[in-house]
Amino acid sequence: MTALLEARHVTKIFGGGFFTKSYTTALENFSMTIENDPPSVTAVVGESGSGKTTLARLLLGLVEPTRGQVLYKGEDLRKIGGRERRVFRRDVQVIFQDPFEVYNPFYKVDHVLTTPIEKFGLAKSRQERDSLVVQVLEAVGLRPEETLGRHPHQLSGGQRQRIMVARALLLRPRVILADEPVSMIDASLRATILGSLLKLNQEFGISILYITHDLTTAYQVSENIVVLYRGNVCETGDVELVVKKPLHPYTRLLVGSVPLPDVNRRWAAEAPASSIGQKADPNKGCRFANRCPNAMEKCIRETPPLYRVDEKRAASCYLYDDKPQLRSEDMMEVFIKGTPRLKTVVGVQ
């Protein structure tokens, strides 16, 4: 069955213009499929420069891959145009990171809701349009009379981000890519916004790709997780296992470095980096070799493939080279399947 949205062996390289020799590889041979039936919540975690935002922009069709393809219902995005593009545009929506940057300062905040309704013809009359707006605002826990008719600078970051969630809900997409949706929101409001995101998944059957650098929110929200390091997948699978018993040395370092609000669990002492690692060329072999405590000779030479370590986890590290290899496009096999649910039909369609 062709997947709803799929990245197949996607590589993205920036720079390399006529004069500049320096180029950076944002994403390397990355494959992933996003299903909508059953609706799933997948997290993509990585530090800045790991390529997670580039992945979001590739899947949204805002940027074209240097190599490989991004497929919507089996068809390459570059070939989709006209009407078909509008269907794709409606099926795959986004929530951006910076609540201050997503609103056109010239208009009131309503503009960001009324424009998609108009463009996708979601409402026949003005009256139907207004009721649709009120419905989605209430669905994300906002009181319309306190939010509509205002300019962006008159609302708090939390309110603005929730309006963006409402905007995504408006279009009834099949998939929402949330690129660091709460990283600029205060802790107390973060939970409410993530809550409304989960609500979209559970009540409206929308699959979520949650992209973040924050492991704790990723753990709370998602079923499966992909850990990215400098454009490569280093570990993936069931989030419960990946966080509790990390396989890849980088994931271990990442989990160990998260400052937990629990005074009894102190920061784990850092293992000394290995000497072999120092010699590693950052663009060849395993990208993590130069920081990896158990780097081996092999790691420096070539990039390790994905090994299926157990039924619900895979890691690309030679520590597990005794395990069966897994092709990058079959990464989904380790994912735990979301509990299939009837797509609850709410009045709004």
Binding site: F19, T20, K21, S22, T24
Partner: protein, 335 residues
């Protein structure tokens, strides 16, 4: 200095000079009738001593740029002459070569322009910086506001007013020319003083008008720079006020100021041309004015090419100097 940065800047330089030369060549051609040959014929028929010189020059001109020749061939000969700095003969001062006329008066312009531009840039920038610095004296702001409005007034009009006040009314300074006519000027103190007294008013009109322009640019840059994070840490380091002003704020605000100097060169030179006209200062600006009056095409083309070449060179020098001021420009590796 990495090679590819130098090469890129040099490429821009070559393109600018080439574009100017081509423009210089093509524009007269666009009007169908060739104004140059028209002018030559006009001069030739006037008769008199320069008559046969004119017909001989027309022969040469026809050979090289005759309308029968294909355009690209004319273009090649034109370019060839250009490279050898042969701008042909001056029509009005035949048989003098254009390059000879220019060579005599270029030094006056260089002297006037170089000194005033550097002076106004430094003074203006410093004043602008001090005006934006909270701890600098208040009176500085008051005496400088008139300069800001003055920067709106075109140079040469200021020149006219200055000539009237200091030259005509008060007779403190000579009204026109670059030196007292009829005297021989050398490098001796007397003639240097004579030159200086003649140059004072033109220089003053250039500087008074431009200081405001540079001060404005600098002041707005300083306002931005003072909002930067490194200024907060610098202040938190308890540094002396002068260190904060010169080594942190001004040092960063001067970078865009130098870039705008490169852009403003064209504006500065055009102003200087007109100032020379108002003061009949014997530079190439005045020469251009006279050439226009006599419709001396080759002199006009020669001067325009020379000015553009000079500006392109200065811009190249500034571009190459910029990385010394701001190391980030030529930094290649990934951060």
């Amino acid at each position: 200095m990495p090679l590819d940065y130098v090469l890129r800047r040099f490429a821009v330089f070559v393109v600018v000079v080439w574009a100017a030369a081509t423009l210089n060549f093509l524009l007269p051609k666009t009007t169908g009738v060739d104004p140059v040959s028209q002018k030559l014929m006009q001069e030739a028929t006037r008769g008199g001593y320069i008559q046969q010189g004119m017909t001989q020059m027309m022969q040469v001109y026809r050979e090289k740029f005759g309308l029968d020749k294909p355009l690209w061939q004319q273009y090649l000969t034109y370019m060839n002459d250009l490279i050898h700095l042969d701008f042909n003969y001056s029509i009005s001062q035949y048989p003098k070569k254009v390059i000879e006329i220019i060579r005599d008066s270029i030094w006056w312009t260089i002297g006037l322009l170089l000194s005033t531009t550097i002076l106004e840039f430094l003074l203006g920038s410093l004043a602008g910086a001090l005006m934006a610095w909270p701890k600098s004296p208040k009176w500085l702001g008051y005496i400088f506001t008139p300069f800001l409005t003055l920067s709106a007034v075109p140079y040469y009009l200021l020149g006219l007013v200055l000539v009237y006040i200091f030259g005509f009314q008060l007779r403190w300074l000579p009204m026109f020319g670059g030196y007292t006519p009829g005297t021989f000027i050398g490098l001796d103190p007397r003639s240097l003083l004579d030159i200086a007294s003649h140059a004072l008013l033109p220089a003053l009109s250039l500087i008074l008008s431009a200081i405001g322009f540079w001060a404005l640019g600098m002041r707005s840059m300083m306002v931005t720079v003072q909002g930067e994070d490194y200024m907060i840490l610098a202040e938190a380091k308890g540094l002396k006020d002068n260190t904060l002003l010169y080594k942190y704020a001004l040092r960063n605000a001067i970078l865009p100021q130098v870039t705008s100097l490169a852009i403003a060169l064209g504006y500065v030179v055009s102003g200087a041309v007109l100032v020379e006209v108002v003061f009949a200062y014997p530079g190439i600006g005045n020469l251009l004015y006279l050439a226009i009056r006599n419709m001396d095409y080759f002199v006009i083309q020669g001067i325009v090419m020379l000015i553009i070449f000079a500006i392109a060179t200065t811009t190249l020098i500034l571009d190459l100097a910029l990385p010394l001021l701001d190391p980030r420009i030529t930094y290649k590796g990934a951060s």
